[in-house]
Amino acid sequence: MSKFLSYFILFLSSNLYADQDKTINIIVENCKSCHNLNIEVTKKIPDLNNLEKEEFIRLMTKYKNDKDNSVMNRISRVLTENDILKMADKIYGKR
């Protein structure tokens, strides 16, 4: 039982458990530090406005599951698949 509990606590402490919609909002606000969502500022970092929602989900899932240790791999590693779907809803709207 205690082993299960410690695994559960470990699980809770190793991801963002972004079950709150408001927490998704602040995750997306952090994405904006590099990816401006309003206007294209730089071509050095991909502009999320130029992606379709499905492509965003596909890319984020790929980054999460990659083993290449890139910046996006490291950042998306702690996100759950549900987090990624909610982020997509937030950025691109529910449709």
Binding site: L16, Q20, T23, I26, C34, K44, E55, S70, V71, I75
Partner: protein, 432 residues
């Protein structure tokens, strides 16, 4: 997958969202807030943390009065300043005039702040003028400990400027570096934690070595460290090995790296064992603490160098309606970086808006990504997400990860591109 029509759709969607927000705010909230006095928010310091707060709070500038106090109307960023020292960028590339036109209904005051009168809820200027506040946000950055290194004074103009903030003379630093003769010895002393931008001393050593090579000069750089390890250490060691051979040598505290004495006239430092190191260019990076305004206003807890805050609201412990953000706070696991300050300030501003609008606080998460360059086209980074612990009184890391030590040239180049991209996005957002 690039779709122009999506950009238009998103643009229209953004406008509709903003209009809906303004309609709701005006209909339901403005009436209530106008029944009282409009809350007055004062922001002291328009660096990364202060400017981010302003960016978010200005979205409700029709509901509140916002006053920004900054000592000068130009801001020099800490990020990329090592690239100016390394002659990759010019100083003008990292300097920004404060763009007052970017913000409607915001008043700017360019004055030195002397202290905060907590009882009177006012900011006192050097000429005893004052501005009252309902909510105060302090984002003034760091100051320096003057009593750690015998013989060294931060204010002595004859020293090599430390260049750890936007005030010290980066141009003079560069000139003295350029004037060095071949086979000169450079000594850099690296401070103990916590301090602003933990990997910066090592990035600076790399970019100085890179610059000297371009000047066809061979130098020896000795880093005397008050610590026994440092962030992205293995990545730096690998980059030094690839690009600079044995030009950069790091001496940890355990092997005599802790410097306790400085003699400017004799160009030497001594470590805690009394060992003497002579150099042609001695660059002291001073030990640091929160900006003086905190101690001058009695906002620090006894014996503390950094401001202690509530991590949910960023309200200063024991002081209602006074908030602090950025390098001057003790942010537990979060390092003192521009990315951290930007991330913290978003939470501060959003939760302050929630407080003013009498809504629930969001449960915050924070992100940090910190890039370091070894040359203009080689960079690597460390990243981590952070959230609050179960009892909501501390910021904890979900585990930091850094670039692979054996990353190939293309990966290093791509990270350099990302570093420039992050910087361009941030300064465009905040200062243009």
């Amino acid at each position: 997958m690039v779709k122009d029509r999506f950009g238009r759709r998103k643009f229209i969607s953004n406008i509709m969202t903003n209009l809906a927000f303004l309609f709701l705010a005006n209909t339901f909230l403005l009436k209530r807030l106008n029944s009282k006095t409009r809350p007055k928010i004062v922001i002291v310091g328009l660096g990364i943390g202060g400017a981010t707060c302003l960016q978010y709070l200005s979205k409700i500038s029709n509901l509140v009065d916002i006053i920004v106090i900054e000592k000068q109307n130009e801001y020099q960023t800490g990020p990329l300043s090592n690239l100016v020292i390394g002659n990759i960028l010019e100083r003008k590339d990292i300097c920004f005039k404060i763009n007052k036109n970017k913000y409607k209904n915001v008043k700017f005051i360019f004055e030195n702040v002397r202290r905060i009168d907590v009882e009177d809820k006012s900011v006192i200027f050097s000429k005893n003028l004052k501005v009252k506040f309902d909510f105060l946000i302090l984002s003034p950055g760091i100051s320096y400990k003057n009593d750690i290194l015998q013989g060294y004074s931060v204010s002595d103009k004859k020293n090599i400027p430390h260049c750890w903030d936007g005030e010290s003379n980066i141009t003079q630093f560069k000139k003295r570096l350029r004037d060095l003769e071949n086979n000169s010895k450079i000594i850099i002393t690296s401070p103990d934690y916590p301090y602003r931008c933990p990997p910066a001393p090592y990035e600076r050593a790399s970019l100085i070595a890179n610059y000297q090579r371009k000047l066809n000069k061979k130098v020896k750089i000795l880093i005397l460290d008050s610590k026994n390890s440092f962030t992205k250490q293995e990545n730096f060691f690998r980059e030094w090995q690839i690009s600079f051979g044995d030009e950069i040598e790091w001496i940890p505290r355990s092997k005599g790296g802790k410097v306790v004495f400085y003699d400017q006239k004799k160009n030497l430092v001594k470590n805690s064992d009394g060992q003497v190191f002579k150099g042609d260019f001695i660059h002291i990076i001073p030990e640091q603490k929160a900006a003086n305004i905190f101690s001058d206003s009695d906002l620090l807890n006894d014996g503390k160098d950094w401001c202690e805050i509530n991590p949910l609201s960023f309200e200063v412990n024991r002081f209602k309606d006074i908030y602090a953000v950025g390098d001057s706070i003790d942010a537990w696991a979060m390092p003192k970086s521009a990315f951290s300050a930007n991330s913290q300030a978003k939470v501060l501003a959003i939760n302050l808006i929630n407080k003013i609008l009498e809504k629930d606080y969001i449960d915050p998460v924070f992100l940090n990504t910190c890039y370091s360059f070894s040359k203009e086209d080689r960079a690597f980074s460390i990243s981590a997400w952070y959230r609050l612990n179960i009892t909501k009184d501390k910021i904890i890391s979900l585990g930091s990860n850094e670039s692979s030590v054996y990353a190939n040239n293309n990966d290093r180049k791509l990270e350099a591109q990302h570093a420039f991209g992050w910087y361009e996005t941030m300064v465009n957002d905040l200062f243009m």
